[in-house]
Symmetry: C2
Subunit: 464 residues, 2 copies
């Protein structure tokens, strides 16, 4: 591509002669985000000065202190910490895994799943059985499984355009794979990483043993997609190959941590609360830039952008940086519990927890009438190439707030690259593009503005 646009008569959004007040307000928000955004600088600090922020870690505490101080510097009406007890799990020394087959020994990249128990100090060694999911365990039966390692290798479905759907089609292997395999006497499990790309990064993530007592728990790890393919091929050549792995993780007692909250008091309806948020904790392998540093800094910038645009919100706008989304959701649950106890009236909750990629739109968890109201705003977003307004899941942290009449929404960024980085060592700052992050913040701020101005049920027609 060279100079092709020289000859093109470009038209910009500025030249529109009949620009409505709402169009001007959105333009002002996007301009501010793209020329004077703070999200990228904040993310740089969270990612590069603090790093991975697993619940209960020193880094998570630093992130609490940093974001609180930054919100205070914005001159909001109120900034506070909401205490919450969170689980504390540590990975310990780096994991080791290899396969010994008739073809020799190959090392394989694995990482412990969050919440897994350690292997014995000497590791675990044994036969490894490949399955395509928990249903295969029943077919194999206890006789074949007992004392062996289960290798869950069902990949994400590449045909699904929304990669989150492909994730949801696989993630039970990771979340419940150990608990299921324990029923058949397995000694450990290895799960193919939830990643559509072939590469060498193992992807961690939460898992649960359900109510299985600690003494019966077996270690669970993820293997990189390249590693999974290598392992699968090696097992085809030698089904008696011996798999070895060793991991050193540990679960501690719960510790105190915090949700970080800031608010701008509404001028007309101070008791009607709109929240915007992401989660402050992250997995430990990368620096948590996409998951969910991006959502944190975008949410912080929503309040700053609305203030900077000169708009005086009628309702109260709160930014909530939730602690412990990844391995407990304690922050989201605590926020909802406190809100309920205080009888706070939440009218809107928006979460960004799908990465800092180019925003495509929002998914809404709401009534048909409220969704119809959202449709009235679609054309205002078109100049910013925001086209996707669908019903669907909104966000994990805001889920516990769910109540009749409350509209939940989730930012929907482009999802193609998300699982290349999700919960892996390469979820790092250099994979976030400044403009894409800023466009997300502006898109969120624009929706918050419209909800503040027009509200939901009963639907009101936009008039300027």
């Amino acid at each position: 591509m060279r100079i092709l646009f020289l000859l093109l008569t470009t038209f910009t959004f500025f030249t529109s002669i009949a620009q409505s007040e709402d169009e001007k307000q959105l333009r002002s928000i996007y301009d501010k985000a793209l020329t004077d955004g703070k999200a990228y600088d904040w993310l740089n600090y969270l990612s590069n000065e603090i790093g991975g922020r697993l619940s209960g870690s020193q880094e998570a505490q630093k992130a609490v202190e940093y974001t609180k101080a930054e919100l205070e510097a914005l001159g909001l009406d109120r900034v506070w910490l909401q205490p919450v007890m969170v689980p504390k799990w540590e990975r310990g020394a780096k994991e080791v895994a290899y396969l010994e087959s008739s073809k020799g020994k190959i090392n394989l990249p694995i990482c412990a799943l969050g919440g897994s128990v350690a292997t014995p100090k000497s590791g675990i060694k044994g036969k490894i059985l490949e399955v395509q999911g928990v249903d295969d365990l029943k077919k194999l039966g206890e006789d074949k499984i007992k004392g062996n390692i289960i290798f869950y290798n069902r990949p994400m479905n590449p045909n699904l355009i929304n990669t989150f759907e492909a994730y949801s089609g696989c993630v039970n292997q990771r979340y419940s794979g150990a608990a299921e395999a324990i029923k058949y006497g397995a000694s450990g499990i290895i799960v193919r990483s939830m990643n559509l790309r072939l590469d060498d990064f193992p992807h961690t993530g939460s898992m649960s043993y359900g109510n299985i007592p600690t003494s019966n728990r077996i270690p669970a790890a993820a293997i990189s997609t390249n590693g999974a393919n290598l392992l699968s091929n090696a097992l085809k050549l030698d089904s008696k190959a011996q798999f070895y792995f060793k991991q050193n993780c540990k679960q501690y007692e719960d510790v105190e941590s915090f949700n970080v909250i800031g608010e701008i008091k509404g001028s007309t309806y101070p008791d009607e609360i709109m929240i915007v948020g992401g989660h402050l904790d992250s997995w430990d392998l990368g620096d948590g830039s996409h998951d969910d540093g991006a959502g944190v800094v975008q949410s912080m910038d929503v309040l700053r952008l609305i203030k900077a645009s000169g708009y005086k919100p009628k309702k109260t706008i709160r930014v909530v940086l939730f602690m412990n989304e990844e391995n407990g959701l304690r922050g989201g649950k605590k926020y909802a519990e406190v809100a309920k106890n205080k009888k706070e009236k939440h009218v809107f909750a928006l979460e960004s927890d799908s990465g800092g990629f180019t925003p495509r739109g929002f998914s809404f968890d709401c009534s048909d009438a409220d969704f119809a109201q959202v449709q009235n705003w679609k054309t205002l977003f078109e100049p910013y190439l925001i086209h996707l307004f669908v019903k669907g899941h909104a966000g994990a942290d805001i889920g516990p707030l769910k109540d009749e009449g409350l509209v939940l929404a989730g930012l929907r960024p482009d999802s193609q690259r998300y699982f290349d980085h999700h919960h892996a060592e390469n979820d790092t700052f250099e994979h976030v593009n400044k403009r894409e992050l800023e466009l997300g913040a502006a898109t969120m701020a624009s929706l918050v503005f419209l909800v503040d101005k027009y509200g939901f049920t009963p639907a009101k027609v936009i008039k300027d």
Copy 2:
């Protein structure tokens, strides 16, 4: 983001009960592209085995031979090379630049613009004057400019959502900056890279001296965006600072090269030709993965995907891999010239030359009636998150074909990251995502299918 989608009732596109033939055809194309695409492998070869492919280089010739062989392997009805004379320019040894100010000496990253003359062997040293564009030259006047270096530093406008518009607002500094500065007696020019990001990569690109005789030409180089900011700040502290640069580029006589063409003969209207293409040449600094290796391999895959889907095209479909888009457009001009001489009837031309990022839609250069026909197809693309159908520039290589009745179209990928890589050392394979590339190929193939089946004016309603 953890397991949130476990609870989400996902619906997939497969479950639609009333799927039309067209819906099925598009689904088949996308499935094939995402599970059995060839584009990424081809790009890997072009980028990593061949590399940067400037017109007239050995690499460009290798790319001609490689893509011809790959098209032949697809079993098309015909594959051929179309000879075209192209300019040959070489960069030579790496450029050097620094500023000597009262604060000391700072090295600055520059690269020669394509088509620039070299500096004298000892380089050029002199006062450097910052301007915001060619209009500033008149204000400064010949007295101030004569013998000095001009530094064009107008940045791309970050407020524009379509980054190509921001590019078009700046690129005249690069393309015409030297020719304009010569009129005022400047000794050389330095241009701020056309890049929205702050980084250390200088971005090359084409420039023209117009009809200025060779002996009067002055050397022209681009400086990285960080370098431009550093230079600008240093000049504010010491306006008499001395700028030095040295570059070793050379223009040779034109050499023969080729457009690479393959076609599937139409079953019903073999004389109605649809073309799909990208340009095979690239700049020399990176490996040309986004510009325009992506467009090349996507265009090749369009023919393969249509064949593989079992659809028998009624019209002739041609893939055209144009040579010399970057510094001459000779391939595009030659193709149009030959088509005109042979009185070939082209009904549709589609180009991909905006990077291998997630596709968002197409821009069409066509009549209102033809554009109305395109609108009929929009809903078929929605499951693939393709929403953008606009009128606008289609593509440089297909531009010379323009004729009444011919519909020109350009793929419109997400543009936010494009100029981070454009014409720079970091336009490399690892910055192309496999799925995003494949989605682009499928989106192009789907449009070609619809144009083949329904055609344009007079608009026909889709019926199945």
